[in-house]
């Protein structure tokens, strides 16, 4: 449900101004989680977004809680030094916000408590005066259980990171930056310390009741959402997104469709090849086994969980899900409940006039277009084709639906589509989307957590149609509009023979 996002010369979106989202709420109300999720979503849709976290900034400037004056967090009377210190921190944060806006940023999410009316009013007026749209985003929680589990999971424990790449680990580490304060603490002591801080705040907290500013109030992580005077394009997108996120445990699987008879034509929309059908059978078996194992590990009854399979309306994709519609009695033990849904929005990236051509032919007949495509495969749209950006816009409703879905999900899709969705889930920058590797024969398992996602790829199939060398020259050359970018962009392109050898085949 995203309108086209067009950037003007200033680098901002055409029809949305600059927005400051001011989070409001007591500690451990999920502000950080919501802020990060929103940042990830907006960045994926191409909006220049930044979370400015007061807590992170304070830790960077002043160090952990032990180094602070004792009255730093207690509200009420403070020594002049503490007042000056606090002012220094909040001024510094505001400067960060201005810096981001001035360098072409569009949305800033100011992650801080902002618990008093006076403070919010001053902040909002300051930015409003400069033409920035201010939204209050309040997160309330009256469920003690949620609060305690927030403290334990986000603030105290470091997440159990089992990721396939170092970079992802780095991203996750950034997301949980706020837990650094308690690293090395005794967990119970940490909980007590944090809980004490919350109690102090509660006494002085003033919920957002002023209706003169636009606000969004979220109660108990999405159980109830109130929206006041939210107008504007991005603002309403933000609301819809927030309405759809949930934190129920589930798993999302991604797999590519099987090989088709004419791999390199979008228009021909051909059937699966014989190895393609074989692949479909193997995929079904592997998903059943893998999922049964995963559910068992978590102690979830298989009868309780349905598997929803999404395919595109392309035949290679829908046919790859065919075995799920013809389960044997044996299969049904492992997968008692399944539903297959065909989604026309999930077709692969449209190659336009380049359909069916080889890279050489394109280079020859469309030299200028080729040049621009190679330079920026994310944003460039070949004649009558879609760019990856167009594809992201097209996929956005599906993505919201993915966020909303409570059941386990298997997406049998095309490389380009899986790339966009993975990039969103993992939080990769848009420009890297075309270069994400999605090999046929791998099942990618993604488990959303409060910090981001855990993801893991399982290899289950080798055969015709699988990329032979994991991203080198010659990879899926017959389907080049979808896959050529892997070779042109980024670090994965093997430059030397040595590099090629280093990649397991």
């Amino acid at each position: 449900m995203v309108a086209p996002l067009y950037t003007t010369a200033s680098g901002l979106l055409f029809h949305a101004g600059k927005i400051l989202v001011v989070t409001v709420g007591l500690p451990a109300r999920g502000k950080t989680h919501i802020s990060r999720a929103l940042e990830r979503y907006l960045r994926w849709t191409g909006v220049k977004t930044q979370v400015v976290s007061l807590g992170d900034y304070r830790r960077k400037i002043l160090g952990g809680a032990q180094k602070l004056p004792p009255d730093y967090f207690t509200l009420g009377e403070k020594s002049p030094e503490t007042v000056a210190l606090r002012k220094r921190i909040s001024d510094g944060c505001e400067q960060l916000i201005w810096d981001f806006f001035n360098s072409g940023g569009q949305v800033v999410i100011y992650d801080a408590n902002n618990g008093t009316r006076e403070r919010r009013q001053a902040l909002a007026e300051k930015f409003d005066k400069e033409g920035i749209h201010v939204i209050m985003l309040e997160s309330l929680c009256d469920n003690e259980e949620i609060i305690l589990s927030n403290i334990r999971s986000v603030k105290i424990s470091s997440p159990d990171v089992r990721l396939v790449s170092l970079r992802w680990q780095l991203i996750i580490a950034l997301i949980i930056g706020s837990s650094l304060k308690y690293r090395g603490w005794d967990p119970e002591k940490a909980v007590q310390d944090y809980y004490g801080r919350i109690r102090d705040h509660e006494a002085h907290y003033e919920p957002v009741e002023e209706t003169d500013w636009p606000y969004i109030r979220i109660v108990n992580v999405g159980e109830k959402i109130m929206v006041n005077r939210i107008h504007g394009y991005l603002q309403s997108r933000i609301v819809f997104f927030l309405m759809n996120i949930h934190n129920r445990f589930r798993t999302i699987y991604f797999a590519r469709s099987g090989q088709s008879l004419i791999e390199h034509s979008y228009k021909a929309d051909s059937d699966l090849s014989p190895p393609g059908w074989e692949y479909a059978e193997r995929l079904k078996e592997f998903v059943l086994d893998r999922r049964a194992k995963a559910l068992q590990q978590r102690g979830v009854d298989i009868e309780d969980r349905r598997l929803v399979v999404w395919t595109s309306a392309r035949r290679r994709s829908h046919h790859s899900a065919w075995p799920f519609l013809n389960l044997t009695e044996n299969d049904k033990v492992k997968l008692p409940r399944v539903k297959v849904v065909e989604k026309p929005q999930m077709s692969e990236i449209n190659p336009g006039v380049w359909d069916g051509l080889s890279p050489d032919q394109v280079r020859k007949f469309y030299p200028d277009e080729w040049e621009r495509f190679v330079r920026d495969p994310y944003a460039y749209r070949a004649p009558r084709a879609e760019s990856y950006h167009d594809l992201c816009v097209r996929l956005e409703p599906t993505l919201i639906e993915l966020e909303r879905e409570q059941e386990d999900l298997l997406i049998i899709g095309h490389a380009s589509v899986i790339r966009c969705m993975l990039a969103y889930l993992i939080g990769l920058p848009a420009s890297e989307i075309p270069a994400i590797e999605v090999a046929r024969g791998d099942l990618i398992e993604v488990v959303p957590t409060s910090y981001g996602v855990h993801s893991q790829a399982y290899h289950f199939w080798d055969g015709p149609g699988r990329s032979q060398n994991g991203g080198g020259v010659g990879k899926d050359e017959h389907n080049f509009y979808e896959n050529y970018a892997e070779d042109t962009q980024g670090k994965r392109r093997p430059q030397t023979a040595e590099a090629v050898d280093a990649i397991p085949s």
Binding site: A3, E223, K224, I262, D271, V353
Partner: protein, 539 residues
């Protein structure tokens, strides 16, 4: 240019291309090359024949039907799991009907099956069909009001009062019976395949809401959502009252307008006295204050539910107009080809030059935003317009897949059976490697959402796209959608009103071909072939 005469330049071009083709030993003969797997060339047919063998080797027990040729009919997506009872809550004249009408139109456009169940429907066999809604809800109003016997006035009210007030217990029983019957009917209808049943009543007390919620929760997989419309803006209420009174409500047919208004206002005050806003924390509800100004969403789970919430959140009541126009006549239009990305014809450029005057005459100084597709012909059409312009990829013309760039005659010649199939069920027919009308509706949903949020908009689009958008605003059935007439060089102005849209059409006297293909078998005027494609003769 006359296509039959070739210049020496053309011949040289052909020579070059042939040389190239020989060098690269491929099938390319012109530059740029034609679509490799277009339905016009021989490759697609050859491929289909040769691949039949490989399908036999398939491992699947019963492989899905293979699609050969240029496309196939696609079944409607399975919405059978969506079972929602949407119960309206709110005082009279607070825009409940406006919201439920809009919502019904939106959901129907998305092919959900939606029904509004009015209170007392089952008792209304004696009502005249035209008076159906107003009289039933009016008698329900009378029943509700009956709790306070002294408050009644007016001719008809006296009648109903007489009828009910002599036995208050009986009235309460009857009222409950009416509400229960109506809900039962909705539930039955949902069982019979419906998706969203709208329970249109005031449902203004907690006990009534509790009853609804309790009843629906007995049905497995059914969900209740309450939609409360609150309005404290006197201007909006007054407008709603005026609308109600002037719409010829049969309740008021023997009264003067002023009397009717007074009576209606009195009626509202009666309701206000017993009204209880939704505070029950366990209910799943949406509260909309002053149509979109303030929205509360509570315990809304499920995708369709959140979509409904988001849609209602985006509505507004500011007066505005939406203008639709197709691009100016394109080269492909002249040649009778479908799809493509051709430039405007000379007459098309003429239209582009004439368009600014037409629009500015109509809209004056009011702000306007122009939306186009990413295709040349729409961008060229707006080039002289002095407004903000945005291009949407989702406004691109229906993708005709393998048939892109062919004429209907060529398609009919190459694939006669497929061609006939499409005519049989055009909405559901998906071109191979392309789209069906349904796919276009799905892709246009974000456009509709954004259109609801915006004010004055001019969309320069394409035939199939505008048909889909037009069907949304006029609530037209999907079977008729692919046959809506959207001629070239015509601006359609839609002005949303409380219960639909007003429409004006402005046709510029600039000749253009007629690209409308009526459904074969339906009556169509017989005209000579070449003149038949013209609906304006050039001066």
């Amino acid at each position: 240019m006359d296509p039959t005469t070739l210049t020496t330049g053309d011949l040289a071009h052909v020579d070059d291309a042939l040389e190239d083709a020989q060098q690269s030993k491929d099938l390319l003969s012109v530059q740029p090359p034609p679509a490799m797997f277009g339905a016009g060339g021989p490759m697609l047919k050859q491929f289909d024949q040769s691949s039949a063998a490989s399908r036999m080797a398939s491992q699947a027990a019963t492989p899905p039907r293979s699609v050969v040729g240029i496309g196939n009919k696609v079944a409607k997506p399975d919405y059978s799991e969506a079972k929602i009872v949407l119960a309206m809550v709110g005082l009279p004249a607070r825009g409940k009907s406006y919201l439920s009408n809009k919502l019904m139109r939106y959901l129907k456009w998305l092919e959900y099956s939606v029904k509004v169940g009015f209170i007392g429907q089952s008792h209304c066999v004696y009502c005249h069909a035209m008076e159906f809604r107003s009289s039933t809800s009016a008698s329900y109003d009378a029943l509700e009001r009956d709790k306070k016997p002294n408050s009644l006035s007016g001719q008809r009210e006296d009648h109903t009062a007489q009828y009910f007030s002599h036995d208050n217990v009986e009235a309460t029983r009857l009222r409950d019976q009416l509400a229960t019957d109506s809900l039962e009917m909705l539930i039955q209808w949902l069982h019979d395949g419906g998706n969203v049943g709208i329970h249109d009543a005031t449902n203004s007390t907690r006990s009534r809401r509790a009853k609804i919620e309790e009843r629906v929760s007995k049905e497995k997989g059914f969900v209740t959502i309450f939609l409360e419309s609150v309005c404290d803006d006197p201007a909006i209420i007054a407008a709603n009252v005026a609308l109600k009174v002037s719409y010829g409500d049969p309740d008021y047919k023997d009264m003067s307008r002023e009397e009717a208004k007074q009576d209606f206002l009195r009626r509202i005050r009666e309701y206000e006295a017993v009204y209880e806003t939704i505070t029950e924390p366990h209910l799943s509800y949406l509260r909309i204050i002053n149509v979109g100004n303030q929205v509360t969403v509570c315990r809304i789970n499920g995708y369709l539910q959140s979509r409904i919430a988001f849609y209602l959140m985006n509505l507004h009541l500011k007066p505005r107009s939406i203008f639709f126009s197709r691009h100016g006549e394109s080269q492909y239009n002249v040649e009778g080809k479908i799809g493509g990305d051709s430039s405007l014809s000379e007459r098309g450029s003429h239209y582009a030059r004439a368009l600014p005057a037409l629009i500015t005459d109509n809209i004056g100084d009011a702000p306007l935003t122009v939306w186009t597709s990413t295709l040349q012909r729409t961008i060229q059409t707006v080039q002289h317009l002095p407004y903000n312009k945005l291009t949407w990829k989702s406004l691109d013309e229906l993708d005709a897949g393998v048939c892109d760039g062919m004429t209907y005659e060529e398609i009919e010649q190459a694939y006669p059976e497929d061609f006939a199939n499409r005519d049989e069920d055009k909405f559901n027919y998906r071109y191979r490697g392309g789209e069906s009308y349904r796919d276009v509706v799905v892709r246009l949903e974000p456009v509709i959402m954004e259109l609801e949020r915006q004010e004055n908009i001019l969309i320069i689009g394409h035939q199939a796209i505008l048909r889909c958008l037009y069907a949304y605003f006029h609530n037209l059935p999907h079977a008729d959608l692919p046959y809506i007439k959207i001629p070239l060089h015509t601006v359609i102005k839609l002005t949303p009103k409380a219960y639909g849209c007003d429409e004006e059409r402005y046709t510029l006297p600039i000749g253009a071909v007629d690209t409308h293909r009526p459904k074969p078998g339906t009556v169509q005027p017989k005209v000579p072939v070449f003149a038949g494609r013209e609906y304006f003769n050039e001066e």
